[in-house]
């Protein structure tokens, strides 16, 4: 559990990628990455103690409401946020849209989220992420998705959850699936691991690494539906090393208070007395959506698997 030391040999990663790409993601651990749509929100996030911001034009709740095709953000808006804050700035690209990623790398965005929240650009291929110098984060619902993304070069994984719903149930579902599938590999012999690797469509060495180390070879964060300090702590206690909060902060009644509270809840995720203290008088959380009421075509987590 406590040994999160990046082991030098992770199949498919060079030593340099391990330390500088994955090393960057290690620095975000125990922190909160907040979705922001303008400079003012980015500054509120930084002041509240966010360890990074995700610059995007619309938070997932609005993407859901507005419908239509959702694409990478206006470079002007991302550049303004890069100028306004000193913490890392991340931005999203459509699944498979390697040109949007090339553009973000050229702008020196600190981390690229190849995200199911935007409308996928390629139904067959994710971005080949290794040639990029910029670290990528990708979503997953289970171990297979996580390892396929890592095999493509992702330096950080986040559970998908169901973004823009304010409902943590899917993030829990995905984190539990991931962790129990990791545990199920423990002590399995080479034949079983090779069979699992074929099923998951990833190299056997990667599955063997997870079986032996009992964790993903890259930081494992949580996203999609976190709306309260208790939600953030729940995901941390289930095994997340950090939390992305999308619509949950700036769609709530009191974003400043809520941002502060969620940052503290991640640091003190094991201390219920702190969670009680930070949860008092936070005002209205974002209005949630019950997943059962979402038609299948509006389920973002089903994209890019």
């Amino acid at each position: 559990m406590t040994n999160n030391h990046p082991t030098p040999q992770v199949p498919g990663f060079t030593a340099e990628e391990l330390v500088s790409k994955i090393g960057f993601c290690e620095q975000l651990k125990g922190g909160v990455v907040m979705d922001v749509v303008n400079v003012e929100q980015a500054q509120i996030a930084e002041e509240a103690g966010a360890c990074a911001v995700m610059a995007l034009e619309r938070v997932p709740a609005d993407i859901r409401k507005d419908g239509g095709v959702s694409r990478a953000s206006d470079p002007d808006m991302i550049a303004a946020i890069q100028k306004a804050v000193s913490i890392p700035v991340m931005a999203k690209v459509r699944i498979g849209h390697f040109v949007e990623a090339q553009m973000l790398e050229s702008m020196e965005v600190d981390c690229i989220d190849e995200s199911e929240v935007l409308t996928p650009a390629d139904e067959e291929f994710h971005i080949e992420k290794r040639p990029f110098k910029t670290p990528f984060v990708c979503g997953c619902r289970d171990l297979g998705e996580a390892l396929r993304r890592i095999n493509e070069g992702a330096a950080m994984i986040r559970t998908k959850g169901e973004a823009g719903t304010g409902n943590v149930v899917e993030a829990v579902h995905h984190m539990r699936a991931l962790m129990s599938q990791i545990r199920s590999l423990r002590g399995q012999d080479a034949e079983v691991l090779a069979k699992r690797a074929r099923e998951l469509r990833v190299p056997t060495e990667l599955v063997a690494w997870v079986a032996e180390n009992q964790k993903l070879p890259v930081p494992n964060f949580s996203a999609g539906g976190v709306a309260t300090p208790a939600d953030a702590s729940l995901m941390m206690q289930l095994g997340a090393e950090s939390v992305f909060v999308g619509s949950g902060i700036f769609k709530s009644g009191n974003p400043v208070e809520r941002a502060n509270a969620i940052v503290r809840s991640v640091t003190h995720y094991q201390d219920p007395s702190v969670l009680v203290e930070v949860s008092k008088g936070l005002g209205e959380p974002m209005v949630g959506i019950n997943i059962d009421t979402l038609p299948p075509d509006q389920r973002l987590a089903n994209r890019g698997i």
Binding site: T2, N3, N4, H5, P6, T7, P8, E16, V19, S20, G23, F24, E26, Q27, L28, K29, G30, G31, Q43, E46, E47, A48, G49, A50, C51, A52, Q82, A84, S86, I87, P88, E105, E108, V109, D110, C111, K133, T134, P135, N260, V263, R264, V266, T267, H268
Partner: protein, 219 residues
């Protein structure tokens, strides 16, 4: 206090945010015990202290709201070995050049810090993540070929007082020592067996031995 004599020294690792777990693993590999520090009471009885990498603005915010700013400052004044890396170094530098303005556009003298190191630093002084990477260090003390991984690293722009420069990247000091404080712009914890963590472990062991001797003489 007395009960701890002869036991392996305990290194407190500030665990508000950042790669504290990597530091714990590296320290454990050097034979040291570690304890995560999130509250003032956890600072009691530690024999050494590590301020890890992460985001310095996040750490400053949490130090303030947790009421840890004062107690940590007191712990830093004790003559125990301290290792500060990346964001940790920024927390100890006398002068932090940026951000130079707050969000309302008012000029700020310096980001708040403990001022233990007689240095000026520029946050992200080597550029954004795109410019992160592993670079060879120039040092007479460290083994030849030793490298350091710099991640959105702070850059030491001036040295104002007595400070031993142990390693440089090009012409910039990147590993310095002032009294009981060892500070690096890069991340020694990200590579197993990095000599910098070993150097710190030697400081911790020597310091624990000294305080045992003092205790023995006192008895």
């Amino acid at each position: 206090m007395q009960a701890n004599k002869q036991a392996a020294p305990v290194v407190g690792v500030l665990a508000l945010q950042g790669d504290f777990a990597d530091h714990q693993a590296a320290l454990a590999a050097c034979g040291l015990r570690t304890r995560q520090i999130r509250t003032a009471s956890q600072l009691r009885g530690i024999d050494a202290l590590v301020l890890p990498g992460g985001e310095s603005t996040t750490m400053l915010k949490l130090l303030e709201v947790e009421g840890l700013w004062g107690p940590l400052g007191e712990a830093l004044q004790r003559p125990i070995p301290i290792l500060a890396t990346c964001a940790g170094l920024i927390l100890l530098a006398q002068h932090v050049e940026n951000p130079s303005h707050d969000r309302k556009g008012q000029a700020k003298g310096s980001q708040e810090s403990y001022g233990l190191l007689p240095l000026s630093v520029a946050r992200n002084g080597y550029g954004r993540q795109f410019h992160s990477g592993t670079f060879e260090l120039v040092s007479e003390t460290l083994p030849k070929g030793t490298t350091g991984t710099f991640i959105r690293a702070p850059r030491i722009t001036a040295v104002h007082g007595p400070c031993e420069v142990i390693a440089k990247r090009g012409n910039d000091p990147v590993l310095v020592r002032t009294g009981h404080v060892l500070a690096a712009c890069f991340h020694p914890e990200l590579t197993i067996g990095h000599p910098v963590t070993a150097m710190f472990a030697a400081m911790v062991t020597a310091s624990a031995r000294d305080s045992d001797d003092v205790a023995a003489e006192a008895q």
